[in-house]
């Protein structure tokens, strides 16, 4: 005779669950290191009070589980089984935005009930490590995406935080940023700048060798978006302080100068030295401007070219200097941002 009982999930079951889950592998039923009181198999489920009927329903819904940069992300609208999310393949920020959009359009009157569950897990052999498990209310999502336009979200916006060192992929900064974003906690801008400068330094020598600038421009679009959405606000117009704007302008001038020298056939091995200093603090940025000034004065170019570059430099030359208090800070990120954001001078 089979006896029926109600398990801890409130489901009528005839026996305690046993065996392994198929897709929800975070329930380590057979590994003493992870189980309660070292209990295994059905003893493990008995401890949790999970019956066989509930057990069948513990899984990640496959049609709502997407892979984003090698991580698995499951999205569930807890309030409705009807909500179906569409895979954007444009990174986690776009995916969250799209999910919010879908929920908002489907539940215009029952917003208070909506709860978007966001789970990120990593699969390693037969086990899953849950990295993010967050419940998002409609109010929270509304605050997070207020004023954000779909077309302004860069491709793989937050994924720029994933670092690759040799064959290893470092996820820490990426996951830290997403956790903070979902929790509505701001990350210090200086912290993000440090990460982006480090990434820049690992790439800059390759970037300077290539003629195309798409990859570089994309990097600065993504990182600016990250700084705005993680440290400030996505709707803020300028995220640069006056000091940072100074470095940005020096970067822009450097770009015009390098192109001018290349145009007049004075492309020497040392031309790009000004682009590879290990730190761009006030002293170094002043030095770059000085070298550019000397370089223009000594250039064997016709008057028209000299006049053009002089006008451009004058126009872009920053009016205010970097303040004494922040003179020793590294402004590399903004210098390179300027270099790869060439302003068209009319």
């Amino acid at each position: 005779m089979t006896t029926s009982f109600t398990d801890s999930f409130g489901k009528a079951s005839s026996k305690i669950a046993s065996g392994t889950t198929k897709t929800a592998k975070f329930l380590s039923y057979d590994d003493k290191a992870f189980t309660l009181n070292c209990k295994q198999n059905s003893e493990f489920y008995k401890n949790l009070g999970i019956g066989d009927k509930s057990f069948e329903k513990i899984y990640f819904p496959k049609e709502q589980t997407f892979t984003i940069s090698q991580m698995k992300w499951a999205f569930m609208d807890i309030s409705s089984s009807e909500t179906k999310f569409i895979e954007t393949r444009r990174g986690i920020y776009s995916q969250l935005y799209e999910n919010y959009d879908i929920i908002a359009s489907q539940n215009p009157t029952q917003k208070e009930k909506v709860l978007l569950k966001v789970i990120c897990y990593k699969e390693q052999q037969a086990k899953q490590e849950i990295l993010i498990d967050e419940n998002m209310t409609m109010d929270k999502m509304q605050r997070l995406f207020q004023g954000v336009k779909k077309e302004d979200i860069p491709f793989h916006a937050f994924e720029v935080l994933i670092e690759t060192v040799g064959k290893s992929v470092l996820w820490n900064n990426y996951l830290y940023a997403i956790k903070n974003f979902l929790a509505e906690s701001k990350i210090p801008k200086s912290y993000l700048l440090k990460i982006f400068t480090k990434i820049l330094r690992s790439k800059i020598h390759d970037w300077l060798k290539i003629k195309t600038v798409e990859e570089q421009s994309e990097f600065f679009v993504q990182t600016e978006f990250c700084i705005k959405s993680l440290s400030m606000s996505t709707t803020i117009k300028s995220f640069m302080s006056p000091n940072e704007e100074f470095a940005f302008a020096v970067g822009q001038i450097s770009r015009h100068y390098v192109e001018f020298k290349e145009k007049i056939g004075e492309k020497s091995n040392s031309l790009k030295d000004i682009l590879t200093y290990s730190k761009y603090d006030r002293e170094k940025l002043r030095f770059v401007l000085q070298r550019i000034g000397i370089g223009i004065n000594l250039a064997k170019a016709n008057d028209k070219d000299i006049s053009e570059i002089t006008k451009t430099v004058d126009k872009l030359h920053p009016k205010d200097e970097i303040s004494d208090e922040e003179a020793h800070k590294d402004y590399s990120y903004f210098f390179y941002k300027g270099y790869y954001t060439k302003e068209i001078i009319a």
């Binding site: 889950t21 897709t23 509930s54 049609e63 569930m76 895979e87």
Partner: protein
């Protein structure tokens, strides 16, 4: 951990989609009275969704998704690891569409290097074939049953494999010939650039398949 398990249970408790390891379109070819027939049941009849990702191949070959209600799909699969042998004979389909809109369909059976592979150019309708000397399939033999008989035994009876799991090539080539005819008669529309994968299940019967765990014999 328990809370997450509960939340997943709560989310899925009324869901009719199955717990599957991967989302993919599925086609069945069913053995009946000496012949293998392509399943003509429509996506709607299965009650399956059409995925944005797979809509082109789903509509092309009328394929439900692996997440279709398990009672409708009738393909129980209790495997928890990809290393476990499959209860079913599977043909792996891959549609590769280039930027030039040329589409190539590959149908393969077996594990490399022992496979039989057909590559079909959808626009020219040309098909090429590559085959190894012998294709042995690693199949589950005990726990999946139809009317009390194991699926494995039914496969052997149908003649598609030997008791040792070796594929009968001539029988398989008859099936693929029929399958390719079926494919080429249908119009592929709006195939997205890139790869689209699907799986074809060869089944020894259309009857209800049950998973009956055999107790360990001592």
């Amino acid at each position: 951990m328990v809370l997450l398990a509960f939340e997943l249970y709560w989310k899925n408790k009324d869901s009719t989609t199955g717990d599957v390891k991967s989302l993919k379109p599925i086609k069945k070819i069913i053995y009946n009275k000496g012949t293998w027939n392509i399943d003509v049941k429509t996506i709607e009849e299965y009650g399956s969704d059409i995925s944005v990702k797979f809509s082109a191949v789903q509509n092309w070959l009328s394929m439900p998704l692996s997440t279709t209600n398990p009672d409708e799909l009738n393909l129980p699969d209790q495997r928890t690891s990809s290393a476990q042998p499959s209860p079913y004979i599977l043909i792996y389909g891959t549609l590769k569409t280039k930027k030039s809109k040329e589409s190539l369909l590959t149908l393969s059976i077996g594990k490399k290097p022992n496979t039989i592979e057909h590559v079909i150019d959808i626009s020219t309708k040309q098909s090429t074939e590559k085959q190894s000397n012998q294709v042995s399939l690693k199949l589950e033999k005990n726990n999946y049953k139809i009317n009390g008989k194991t699926i494995f035994d039914l496969y052997v009876t149908s003649g598609i494999i030997s008791r040792e799991g070796v594929l009968d090539k001539s029988e398989y080539l008859k099936i693929t010939s029929k399958l390719i005819d079926y494919i080429l008669k249908r119009n592929l529309e709006n195939a997205p650039i890139g790869l689209q994968s699907f799986t074809i299940y060869l089944l020894p019967s259309a009857d209800k398949i049950s998973f009956e765990m055999e107790e360990n014999k001592t």
